[in-house]
Symmetry: C2
Subunit: 188 residues, 2 copies
């Protein structure tokens, strides 16, 4: 096969470009982040970005690849699902900017929005099916959770609304946890 095991010299450059892309996309969204700026951040010529990734769109697709790393919720006691979820999400938001890139870009870029729907369908919904009382209700319950979690991220990290920024992780968990708990296990 064509899998070249030996590490190439270009791997470092590739990684640098990808890191710079994630940062720019997260900070400015898809249309504002420019190939030229990303290349400058990676101390490289803009044309190299094209050589490595083909186009801006393909670069974004790779930069916005994202694994939510949802914890194994089947091990969590039923009445603590809400808290466990917020906790996992808050931690994930803070140490990986890919999701913010996706959120910012998803607001204006149709492809990014589609990708968010994909992440929801591929990573969130399946977990919901295994956890919800009635699997038929899972999409609805997962959707409700998404509104609260993404809304939190939007206000805190993107719009930077002062009272939401001011909250501590613990406060967030205490307030939002019960909301998710009800969305997951509450009666219709």
């Amino acid at each position: 096969m064509d899998s070249d095991q030996r590490p190439r010299r270009s791997d470092a450059t590739r990684a640098a470009i990808l890191a710079a892309a994630r940062e720019r996309f997260a900070a400015e969204g898809y249309e504002r982040a420019t190939i030229r700026a990303i290349a400058a951040d990676a101390s490289i010529d803009p044309s190299m970005v094209m050589r490595y990734f083909g186009s801006k769109e393909k670069l974004f697709a790779l930069a916005a690849e994202f694994d939510l790393r949802l914890p194994d919720l089947t091990a969590v006691p039923r009445e603590e699902l809400g808290r466990a979820l917020v906790t996992a999400f808050v931690r994930r938001w803070e140490d990986d900017e890919s999701l913010m890139a996706l959120l910012r870009a998803g607001a204006t870029n149709p492809a990014a929005a589609e990708r968010m729907r994909g992440i929801f369908a591929g990573q969130v919904a399946p977990v919901a099916v295994r956890v919800c009382p009635d699997p038929a209700e899972a999409p609805l319950r997962a959707g409700l959770c998404a509104t609260q979690i993404l809304g939190l991220a939007l206000c805190r990290y993107v719009l930077r609304m002062p009272p939401v920024v001011a909250m501590s992780s613990a406060e967030i968990i205490d307030w939002v946890g019960p909301t998710l708990q009800r969305y997951i296990t509450g009666e219709l």
Copy 2:
């Protein structure tokens, strides 16, 4: 004064441009919406947009002026505040696209984000102060409500997540109402 009472012929054009601008900004966000497209929608030359509004930024500022028209919550029974709020918001979202323009643009455009914070501070926070048990807690409680409401709008109107789009107004009110209720009147 220079206030010209007599209606001018240009008023219709001005209004047409503003309407087209609201639509484009709502549908595509700030950077994707172009002066040329807006002008075409209004059946006018792009240069007229500049003559009337000075710049794209100023046009956006006017197109994104927005009155939430929050109902008078002091007349609402304390235990129905949550439902009243969601109801008011859902209705408002559906018949005015300015807020969606603001939401889409706010994700990438710093000025639009600033404006959202302004709306929050100017229209939401004051209401919260009058309604919350302890006015000192008002910003926190209002901020929490904002996360849920904006998250709902994001998932439903911008990202168009299928389960959230599928919900009826009544379902939304039944599910999200209690959340806001707790954010407003729940104990810390």
